[in-house]
Subunit: 225 residues, 2 copies
Amino acid sequence: MSMTNTPPNAVLSTRIADELRQSILTGELSPGERIRQEELAEQFGASRIPVREALRILVTDGLVNMVSNSGAWVSSLTQDECSEQYQIRERLEPLLLRYNVPALTPDDLVRATELVEQMKKAPDLEAFMRLDREFHWITYSRVETNILSELIERLWNTTQPYRRVFMKLVRSEGGIEVTHLEHELLLEAIKRGDSEEAENLLRGHIRRTRIELDRHPEVFAHQFD
Amino acid sequence: MSMTNTPPNAVLSTRIADELRQSILTGELSPGERIRQEELAEQFGASRIPVREALRILVTDGLVNMVSNSGAWVSSLTQDECSEQYQIRERLEPLLLRYNVPALTPDDLVRATELVEQMKKAPDLEAFMRLDREFHWITYSRVETNILSELIERLWNTTQPYRRVFMKLVRSEGGIEVTHLEHELLLEAIKRGDSEEAENLLRGHIRRTRIELDRHPEVFAHQFD
DNA sequence: TATTGCAGGAATGTATCCAATGCCAAGTCT
DNA sequence: AGACTTGGCATTGGATACATTCCTGCAATA
């Protein structure tokens, strides 16, 4: 998972893009929030040119929207759009998983097992989300797929802010148990090398989340900060 | 289908991007071809700034690759990458079709029927591809899906150069008949409102093309012009 | 009172100039 | 002769300054 490890001496625009991406993924910047070029330029001690390039990079990532002569905003999703993205994930992630199952190494499986256990004892939401992301990503990144993995990472990223709010809700209601069970079943199928069953379980895992999410419109209540 | 109708007085960078996109889609620019900023700037009578913005826009479209301090190229695909994109399309386009089938109007169906007939008598390859694209797009664009349709248009665009070469091959061998039959069956299923069957037919249509394409490595022979 | 028109200002878009990077070839050392 | 270094050139990256667009608010008029 590329998790945006800051390149130390890279080109300025990509460094700014990475910083911004992290700010969005950690929730420091919220969906709908306005982004002013000049403000950012000052903040980074740079001119507006690399800031603009950075914003365009984030448009590519789906994390920012730009409108001509108007400005840039952190991408925000309506409930329908978020549901749509989950439906796309339902169809694509099983495909990526199928590519990977035969290629996973014993080390991958050990690590994945550890992660499933650690998730059960995750102290807070951020820790859980990080572990969850790493777990799934291990099962996705053994085979190098140039387009599919990027696409899916993008979908994870754009839906992350809403997943955070949603998980906070579900977690406080104790409704996280099903997720652990799903992870265990999925992991077992992967260990057996049963790609087809793994695909089905993963589809169901994503699908259940989508359907639960569809029942929580309040997650999408406060658009436009 | 947004087919890039040049906005007359739009922002310069987007106009340049649109022109370039057309050049790539029509085959005027080939995959792997180098793109020099200054050259383009001169060609458009502009400075390099809007050219750079245009290139970033095309990166978002997947039509251009940029490398820091090195340059930009028209995106090129290996055979594996192209096959991967087709597999993604196999899973996503049926989903988009399912959204649309219940919403299609009688006019849509009339137009789609016309297009299927016109495709049979298409005088040349470019005409066929244009009609084919319009046919499928009619069945995709009645329902407004914000992410899915963009995604699929992007996949169509990035694979277009290879589809062109491939179709030239198949067409000259008279192997286009199956496509016409598939289109007819698909259209009939849509007319009946049978979303599920339409999904299956569409998946098969894309899948067959992918498998045939997999058997023609010569399509990907001349990378890097 | 509602609507239209006109500024004024703030933010984005573009041009020009300069800096930094990377590639390639010529030269030098071993 | 071969491999490493070095300099120059072509190209991209960034800074400053200016032009353009859009939005907002006020005022004038119907």
